[in-house]
C-alpha cells in the first residue's frame, strides 16, 4: 500500500484552509495576520528544504554525514534553548550542548540498537528522523526546565540563601528548584501520554498508518517513542542543570548575576 501523494494543485487547496483564520483575524482585528503568514511561509520553506536534505541524506546514507547532521541539530537546539530561556549564551552554550548531545545520542542508540535492533544504527531513515523527534522534545523540555530552575532561584533568592546560610551546600540549597524544574519539564510529556490514543493519534502514528504500516506496528513504535521521549527529556534536563550549576554560582555559592541575558 502506497501513500496517496499530494499534487501541487492539492497543496494549493491546502493553503485555502488558511482563508478562514485570516478572515477571522481581519474581522476581529486579532493582529495575527502578519505573524501567521510569516509562520506559514517559514514552515513551508523549512519543510521544503528539509525534504531536499532528507532525500539527499537517505540517498547517500553516510554515517559521518548523518552524525554531522545530528550534531548540527543539537547545536541549533542548544542556541534555541538558551535564547528562549533568556540566559547568557557564553556561560551556557557548552554545558547545554554536551547535556543534549549525551542524552540524545544515548537514547537514540538505545532505541535503534536495543529496541529496533537495526544492523546499522546510523541508518539515516532512523538515526536522523528519530533523533530529530527526540531532540525536538528535549528542546521544549529544556526551555521549560532550565529557565524555571534559574528564574526560580533568582525569584526566591532569600529562601535559597536561608539554606545556604544554615550550612547547606549549593546542591542542597538548589534541590527544591531542581525538583520543580524537572516536574515542570516532564509534565507535558506525561500529560500527553495519558490522553494519547483516546482523543488524538500522535503525528508519528498517523504518519505511519498513512504510510501503510499496520496500526499494530504503529502503536508499538508510538509506545517506544513516547518512552524514549520521556527518558530524553528527563535525562537532558538533569544533565543541563548539573552541567550548568558549577559555572552559574560563584565560589561562595551565590548565583552569578551575569548568567541572565537581561536584568530580571
Amino acid at each position: 500500500m502506497e501513500t496517496t501523494d499530494i499534487s501541487s494543485f492539492s497543496l494549493i487547496m491546502a493553503f485555502f484552509m488558511l482563508l478562514y483564520p485570516i478572515i477571522l483575524s481581519y474581522l476581529f482585528n486579532l493582529k495575527i495576520i502578519k505573524d501567521s503568514i510569516i509562520s506559514v511561509i517559514r514552515m513551508s520553506v523549512q519543510l521544503f528544504i528539509m525534504s531536499l536534505i532528507l532525500s539527499y541524506f537517505f540517498q547517500i546514507n553516510n554515517i559521518w554525514i548523518n552524525i554531522g547532521w545530528i550534531i548540527f541539530m543539537i547545536i541549533f537546539a542548544s542556541f534555541r534553548i538558551i535564547q528562549a530561556s533568556k540566559l547568557n549564551t557564553k556561560n551556557f552554550i557548552m554545558p547545554v550542548f554536551f547535556a543534549l548531545a549525551i542524552s540524545n545520542l544515548f537514547v537514540l542508540f538505545y532505541f535503534n540498537y536495543i529496541i529496533l535492533r537495526l544492523d546499522n544504527v546510523f541508518e539515516a531513515r532512523y538515526f536522523i528522523v528519530i533523533g530529530g523527534m527526540l531532540l525536538g522534545n528535549a528542546l521544549t523540555g529544556n526551555i521549560i526546565g532550565i529557565s524555571n530552575f534559574y528564574k526560580d532561584i533568582q525569584r526566591n533568592k532569600e529562601r535559597y540563601l536561608f539554606y545556604l546560610g544554615n550550612g547547606a551546600t549549593v546542591y542542597e540549597a538548589a534541590m527544591p528548584y531542581f525538583r520543580n524544574a524537572l516536574i515542570s519539564a516532564l509534565r507535558p510529556t506525561i500529560a500527553s501520554m495519558a490522553t494519547i490514543g483516546i482523543v488524538y493519534l500522535p503525528g508519528m502514528m498517523t504518519g505511519q498508518i498513512l504510510g501503510g504500516a499496520s496500526p499494530q506496528t504503529a502503536i508499538k513504535y508510538q509506545i517506544a517513542i513516547m518512552l524514549a521521549i520521556l527518558l530524553t527529556v528527563s535525562l537532558s534536563v538533569t544533565l543541563t542543570i548539573v552541567f550548568t550549576i558549577k559555572s552559574s554560582f560563584d565560589e561562595c555559592g551565590i548565583i552569578k548575576e551575569n548568567i541572565f541575558k537581561e536584568k530580571q
Binding site: 532569600e158 529562601r159 540563601l161 536561608f162 539554606y163 545556604l164 546560610g165 544554615n166 550550612g167 547547606a168 551546600t169 542542597e172 527544591p176 560563584d250 565560589e251 561562595c252 555559592g253 551565590i254
Partner: protein, 213 residues
C-alpha cells in the same frame, strides 16, 4: 572569633556601610540596633558571604573570610533572616528537610526534645502537622527559633526574629538565647526588649556613623 575591620559596602554608589568595625568574641551576645535601612542586615549578609565588602576585611578566627572558610562559618551558624517564608510543606516536613542537610547529619532527631522546645515557646504539638504557610508570622518565628535552638549551633545570626511576638514571648526568647553561655549571638532588632536585656553588647547604628556603646 569574628572581626569587621573598616568594612564598607556600597549600593549603587552610596555607602550603606562605611568604615564599620565590630569585634565578636566567642560566646558574646551582641545586639545591632538602629533604624531600618541603615545596613544592619548588610552586616549579616557580609558575614555569611552573600555579598562581599567593597573595602575593608572581615576575619573569622583571625583568618580573612574567603570562599573556603565561609562554608565553615555557615556550617556552625544558625541563620534566621527577616524573610521567613522559607519553604512549603508542613512544619514537620520543613524541620526534617533542615535536619536532612549534610551539615546536620550528626544531629539525632529527638522528637521529645523538640516537642518540649515547641511547648516552651507555646507551640502545641498539632503545629507539626500544619502547613507552614498557614501559620501566623509570630508562629513562624517561634517555629524557626525552636528548630534552630534544637540544632544547637555555635553562632546565631538573628535578623528581627522577635518582631511579631508579644512582649512576654520576646523576653522568653531573648532570655533563652542570653542564658546559653556557649552560643555566640548576633541579633538585629528594633525591639526595646533586646535593648534593655542585661549583659548584651549594643552596637547602635546611626546612618553611616557607627558608635560602640
Amino acid at each position: 572569633m569574628i572581626e569587621f575591620k573598616n568594612v564598607s559596602k556600597k549600593f549603587q554608589d552610596s555607602y550603606i556601610l562605611k568604615n564599620f568595625n565590630l569585634k565578636i568574641e566567642e560566646g558574646s551576645k551582641t545586639l545591632i540596633y538602629g533604624k531600618s535601612g541603615i545596613g544592619k542586615t548588610t552586616i549579616i549578609r557580609l558575614l555569611l558571604g552573600f555579598i562581599k565588602p567593597d573595602e575593608g576585611e572581615i576575619y573569622y578566627n583571625n583568618q580573612r573570610l574567603n570562599s573556603k572558610n565561609i562554608w565553615e562559618v555557615r556550617r556552625i551558624t544558625a541563620y534566621i533572616g527577616q524573610n521567613i517564608e522559607i519553604a512549603n510543606g508542613t512544619v514537620l516536613e520543613i524541620i526534617k528537610s533542615i535536619l536532612k542537610l549534610k551539615v546536620n547529619e550528626n544531629i539525632f532527631f529527638d522528637q521529645q526534645k523538640l516537642i518540649e522546645l515547641f511547648n516552651f515557646f507555646e507551640l502545641d504539638k498539632t503545629v507539626f502537622e500544619k502547613e507552614y504557610e498557614s501559620l501566623s508570622g509570630g508562629e513562624k518565628q517561634r517555629v524557626l527559633i525552636a528548630t534552630f535552638i534544637f540544632l544547637n549551633k555555635k553562632i546565631y545570626l538573628l535578623d528581627e526574629v522577635t518582631s511579631s511576638l508579644d512582649r512576654e514571648m520576646k523576653l522568653k526568647v531573648i532570655n533563652y538565647f542570653l542564658d546559653k553561655k556557649e552560643w555566640t549571638i548576633i541579633s538585629i532588632s528594633h525591639d526595646q526588649e533586646w535593648l534593655s536585656a542585661p549583659g548584651i553588647n549594643v552596637i547602635k547604628m546611626e546612618g553611616q556613623k557607627v558608635g560602640n556603646h
